[in-house]
């Protein structure tokens, strides 16, 4: 694995493009800038084509013999199925408004990370084979013939796009690079050119229900571990149930929350909240993953993995589904789930059993975001909160790309944050809400061999955090996405040391005054609560 250059070196970015035209420039697969290829066994589990041992640095990628036909046929098929793809191939005027909006371009200076050029990588092939002018005028119309070199270029750049959609906000025609990247990845997948950090989780999600491959008994053990942790901090023993039929609510969260800090603290926050309000809910070990790595593979794979949510809700005969803090999970739930795997007519329109609020905005999918759910509880005064317990945290909020630009969930998390902590400062306007910057590691790129590009791509996000860190002393970055919770800590360590990362419901858990709790001296991380530092020391003695 490549070592990551120091921040001082990585920060020297030259945004001037090279002299050679882009049509004749091809990428060099340098460690740290590409992801490892998928292991054959992971493709075999889900029946994807061309499983084989290979590496992106190999000269011969062992493409199938008819790779060209597969690619062109695949393109035609998708042009016929997706108006977005067809339209976005035709109407770009290359005004360049998107160029400096991409975090990977800002952090790397590589011109092919400008959304317009990323799209041109496919558009040039489209022109050559699917338009009259391209067929006649060839390179004068911006057309390129398909070569193996171009497949390698696609692999490099379509796995250097986090599908964050920031460019589409600024495009005068709403051209969405995520759509183009998704098509590019689908085509690559048909040739067997996948990356392992996506296909491993896909295979695991498919077989075991979650991306880490946690088996049912182990999943239960892990949750029960946090029951003990909660008891140690609060003195209250929460009692989660698993695969329980007849519960009112099925709760699904990304499995990263079960597995890795600081997501685990957020998970504890969820469980404390549910216990406190007496929610009749259950976990599922079968549908134990909210995140959908299919979204980074193909529409078909997305549908195959998403199917578990409704299937399990139906089997357990719950009334509705509550979803945890996750980015891509919510993109899939908001934009795809009901269409792909609905109608969810076996469920009821979600209604909060505590406040009676009917979630009209989820009346078809029957699935509520936990930020909405908690904001409603707070609004109705159903929670006893002591925000001063978070007084040692000066908090800013990272809008996750998918809940922002695919959903518009801006105010609910901020409403919750303001209720559970006293010190909250937003980052500068051009870097939040719909203009938010990606963590740099989304869409299945959160793997360690890709660390240099992750740090480059995360630079704009980190830069905005550093601004509030220096101006207001911000030391805590809150977010509502499991990938963020996994990848923002190394990013902060690298660019803005002194800033930690938290989920929204970790702060809720800290501030929540529970019935029958003991005197709390620490937060969920076993760090002393404000004003409790001395007692901690006394105990240590």
């Amino acid at each position: 694995m490549a070592t990551v250059p120091k921040p001082s070196e990585l920060g020297k970015v030259d945004h001037r493009p090279p002299q050679r035209p882009w049509t004749e420039t091809f990428p060099e697969f340098r460690p740290g800038t590409y992801c490892y290829s998928a292991k054959p066994k992971n493709l075999e589990v889900v029946g994807l084509p061309n499983p084989r041992e290979w590496s992106p640095t190999d000269e011969d990628w062992k493409l199938p013999d008819d790779w060209k036909d597969i690619t062109l046929k695949g393109m035609k098929d998708r042009l016929d199925k997706f108006r977005s793809f067809k339209l976005f191939m035709d109407i770009c005027v290359r005004c360049g408004a998107c160029a400096d909006k991409c975090h990977y371009f800002i952090g790397s200076g590589d011109p092919k990370n400008m959304p317009v050029l990323r799209a041109e990588l496919i558009r040039s092939i489209y022109r050559n084979y699917f338009t009259g002018s391209g067929k006649i005028l060839k390179k004068y119309a911006g057309a390129r013939a398909l070569t193996e070199q171009i497949i390698k270029e696609w692999f490099y750049y379509f796995y250097q796009c986090t599908e964050c959609r920031r460019c589409s906000v600024f495009c005068p025609y709403g051209i969405d690079t995520a759509e183009i990247t998704m098509m590019g990845r689908e085509l690559l997948n048909e040739l067997g050119c996948n990356i392992d950090w996506i296909m491993g989780p896909v295979a695991n999600c498919y077989m075991n229900g979650n991306h880490l491959g946690i088996q049912p008994h182990a999943f239960k053990d892990m949750i029960m571990f946090f029951v003990d942790e909660i008891e140690a901090v609060t003195g209250v023993r929460v009692e989660p149930t698993f695969n329980r039929k007849g519960a009112e609510v099925l709760f699904i969260t990304p499995s990263g929350d079960v597995f890795a800090d600081p997501g685990t603290y957020t998970l504890m926050g969820y469980m404390m909240l549910f216990h406190e309000i007496g929610l009749d809910y259950t976990w599922s070990t079968y549908a134990s993953e909210g995140g959908n790595f299919g979204l980074f593979t193909s529409h078909e794979m997305m549908k195959r993995l998403n199917a578990k949510m409704y299937a399990e809700a139906k089997r357990l005969k719950v009334k509705w589904i509550l979803g945890g803090e996750c980015g891509h999970m919510w993109r899939v739930i908001n934009q795809y789930m009901d269409t792909m795997n609905g109608p969810a007519d076996f469920l009821e329109v979600p209604k909060s059993p505590i406040t009676g609020t009917v979630f009209e905005n989820a009346k078809s999918t029957k699935m509520v975001h936990i930020a909405e759910f908690t904001a409603d509880l707070i609004r109705h005064g159903k929670l006893n909160l002591d925000p001063s317990r978070n007084d040692n945290k000066i908090v800013t909020f990272h809008d996750s790309c998918n809940t922002s630009r695919a959903m518009g969930l801006f105010e609910e998390p901020r409403y919750v944050l303001k209720a559970v902590c006293n010190h909250f400062y937003d980052m500068p306007e051009n870097t939040i809400r719909e203009k938010t910057f990606c963590c740099g590691s989304g869409s299945g790129l959160n793997t360690d061999e890709f660390m240099e590009m992750r740090m480059r791509g995360g630079l704009p996000r980190a830069n905005a955090v550093r601004y509030v860190h220096e101006k207001y002393g911000v030391n805590m970055l809150a977010c509502i996405c499991a990938i963020d919770r996994a990848v923002l800590p190394p990013l902060m360590n690298y660019w803005v040391p002194g800033v930690e990362v938290t989920g929204l419901h970790e702060l809720v858990g800290n501030a929540l005054v529970m019935k029958g709790e003991k005197k709390r001296t620490t937060d969920l991380r076993y760090e002393p609560l404000p004003g409790m530092e001395e007692e901690e020391e006394a105990e240590d003695v």
């Binding site: 108006r83 408004a97 709403g174 498919y206 049912p216 008994h217 934009q335 009901d338 269409t339």
Partner: protein, 334 residues
């Protein structure tokens, strides 16, 4: 192909297009340039644009993928943003009006400022928005003013437009702002393309060609009006003849008029096959013209098909022993 090659290629192409009517009309092929080509170009324009739109429309929109740029509709006590995140047709229509008439998304533009350190700032950048507005609206006004040549008596709206456009009352004939604004707009869009390194890097001949073509059209128009006067009565006779499908070709209009007319014809003909179709395409963009209500209303994918899933039964079969041991409920006990 590098940037200068792309530019030269486009420049030469427009140069040839200027020469064609020059040679053709001098050689006596007036009816070709005055009647046949304009008719063919206009026909190509309409048929082409309709064909393009139909071609796009034939591909379905399987999923709702709006880019939400504002607060979603959730609780009554949280103010939703119906313009940037619409949930119904009315909101979508308003969002599209803002987009199409005021270039809302471009208005949002920011510019990257990168300093050593590294420190990054995002400054407001409205120049592209302003340039685009000036270019498109002056083009529209110029186009509408030309209706004078196709109506008798002249539509009152056109007369009004002319008086507003020429309000400065400079010179004789009266100076129209729109003509100069159009030239300035094209010049700005071109200069931007060659002076910003990234933009130069991404530009293709098909980016320069329409700019040069429109520049040549506007220039010949301005020249004709203010400097090399053409027989305006003759022009109107010709245009009215074309408009009423009884073409007549008056003598001695002047070659520059035929150059202008030919370039306009080329633009019309080129339109549907080029990036210029963004004019029609903007209306069809699924990230802008769909409401964000897919959690409220089920959206149907016309080509939805069943997929292979790993069912709960298969899952339980694999893990039943372990599940029972861990005290997890199972469907089949044995």
């Amino acid at each position: 192909m590098n940037a200068s090659q792309a530019m030269v290629f486009s420049l030469v192409a427009v140069g040839i297009l200027v020469c064609l009517p020059l040679i053709g009309v001098t050689a006596g092929m007036t009816s070709l340039f005055a009647v046949i080509i304009p008719y063919a170009a206009v026909a190509l324009f309409f048929v082409g644009v309709v064909a393009r739109v139909v071609r796009w429309a034939r591909s379905p929109v399987p999923f709702r993928i709006p880019t939400t740029c504002g607060q979603q509709k959730s609780f009554s006590w949280i103010k939703a943003d119906p313009l940037e995140n619409p949930t119904d047709t009315k909101g979508v229509v308003l969002r599209m009006i803002l987009e199409v008439l005021l270039f809302r998304s471009l208005f949002r533009n920011t510019r990257l400022e990168y300093y050593d350190g590294p420190k990054i700032r995002y400054a407001s950048a409205k120049w592209l928005w302003l340039g685009a507005i000036v270019f498109h609206y002056s083009f529209l006004v110029v186009l509408l003013r030309h209706l004078r040549f196709f109506s008798e008596p002249v539509v009152p709206l056109v007369t009004l437009l002319e008086s507003v456009d020429g309000f400065l009352e400079v010179g004789l004939p009266r100076l129209y702002i729109s003509g100069l604004a159009l030239l300035a707009g094209v010049a700005y869009l071109f200069l931007r393309r060659v002076t910003i390194p990234q933009l130069k890097y991404i530009s293709l001949p098909s980016d320069y060609f329409p700019l040069f073509l429109i520049f040549a059209i506007a220039t010949t128009g301005v020249l004709m009006r203010y400097i090399y006067k053409v027989d305006i009565v003759g022009v109107k006779e010709l245009t009215m003849g074309l408009a009423t499908f009884h073409p007549v070709i008056p003598e001695g209009i002047g070659t520059i008029f035929y150059i202008h007319l030919f370039l306009v014809s080329v633009l019309f003909a080129y339109f549907p096959f080029s990036k210029l179709v963004h004019m029609a395409g903007v209306f069809l963009s699924p990230t802008r013209n769909l409401p964000n209500n897919s959690r409220m209303v089920r959206h149907i994918n016309p080509w939805n098909y069943p997929v292979k899933v790993h069912t709960y039964e298969e899952y339980e079969d694999e893990f039943r022993e372990k599940m029972i041991e861990a005290g997890l409920p199972v469907e089949k006990k044995e």
